[in-house]
Amino acid sequence: MSGAEITTGKLAGVWVALLALTAIEVVLAFRLLSPVLFLVILLALSIGKAVMIAAWFMHLALAPRRLSLVLFPPLAVFIIALAAILTDAKP
């Protein structure tokens, strides 16, 4: 991991993309969407942002795939637990 490098231009591009996705989230917050639909959209955007941070800022894109596989279980647990528990969350 130490030998490879991500260019400053690419890092700046990722930063701009993350800010843009945040702006989209904020705009959507003031639309009258149903809570469940809004939650699904927010989770999709948040997971996308998290993947970008892990891949480029944390250099996971340059790391061996076996390291990524170590990190996959917690994400899977999060999504499965969220899906399983939130289906029970009825007002």
Partner: protein
């Protein structure tokens, strides 16, 4: 290959990274599960309760958005610090680490203002609030407090790393490892901001 590595035949670096970043990755994984449990708990309560408080007006949302931008920018400066140490530019590394710390402090100050507003103006405490939803305060302060504690620890951690880099006592791998921690703190906020703030906007 040393004796211990030869014994298990996995090589000296089975994941292609050093022991320090690998240790940090494993910490990040375990800490992510802690935050996951809290986020799932908060979101469950939010969705299952139609009377869940919505104390975040336009001013709060703009402030939280600014906090998000500050944290994202601090991740950029942290990544630039890692790039600088890889090129052997120690003074640039220290400068970028100082920028990251300053942005982290700005995040903490903005967050403290938000807490102050909730406690003093909205009268929210850990066990009570004007909307008669006692779990709101406990879950909100628990979740954001744990995150703010991580940011505070991160600022101190980066200060120690910057001082050690200035004395020439730490190398690339150490700065990379501190960067993993800082980016993780940023990554967690990418879930807290939408699930806590944007899901409870006061229209």
């Amino acid at each position: 290959m040393n004796h211990r590595a030869a014994a298990w035949q996995g090589g000296g670096s089975p994941f292609g990274i050093g022991a320090k970043p690998l240790g940090m990755w494993l910490f990040v994984v375990s800490d992510a599960l802690t935050f996951s449990a809290l986020l799932i708990c908060y979101t469950y309560l939010r969705l299952s309760n139609p009377n869940w408080p919505a104390p975040f007006g336009m001013e709060s949302i703009l402030q939280a958005t600014a906090m998000t931008a500050v944290l994202l920018t601090s991740s950029l400066t942290m990544a630039l610090a890692v790039g600088a140490i890889k090129r052997g530019r120690r003074s640039a590394t220290i400068g970028m680490l100082a920028c990251t710390m300053a942005l982290g402090l700005a995040f903490i100050v903005l967050h403290a203002f938000e807490w102050r507003r909730l406690v003093l103006v909205e009268k929210v405490s850990l066990s009570s609030n004007p909307w008669d939803q006692p779990l709101f305060g406990a879950t909100f302060f628990g979740l954001t407090g744990l995150h703010m504690a991580h940011v505070s620890v991160g600022v101190v951690y980066l200060g120690i790393v910057a001082a050690a880099v200035a004395r020439g006592k730490l190398d690339t791998e150490d700065v990379e490892t501190s960067g993993l921690y800082w980016h993780f703190v940023d990554l967690i906020w990418m879930f807290i901001f939408p699930l806590v703030y944007l899901m409870s906007v006061r229209m």
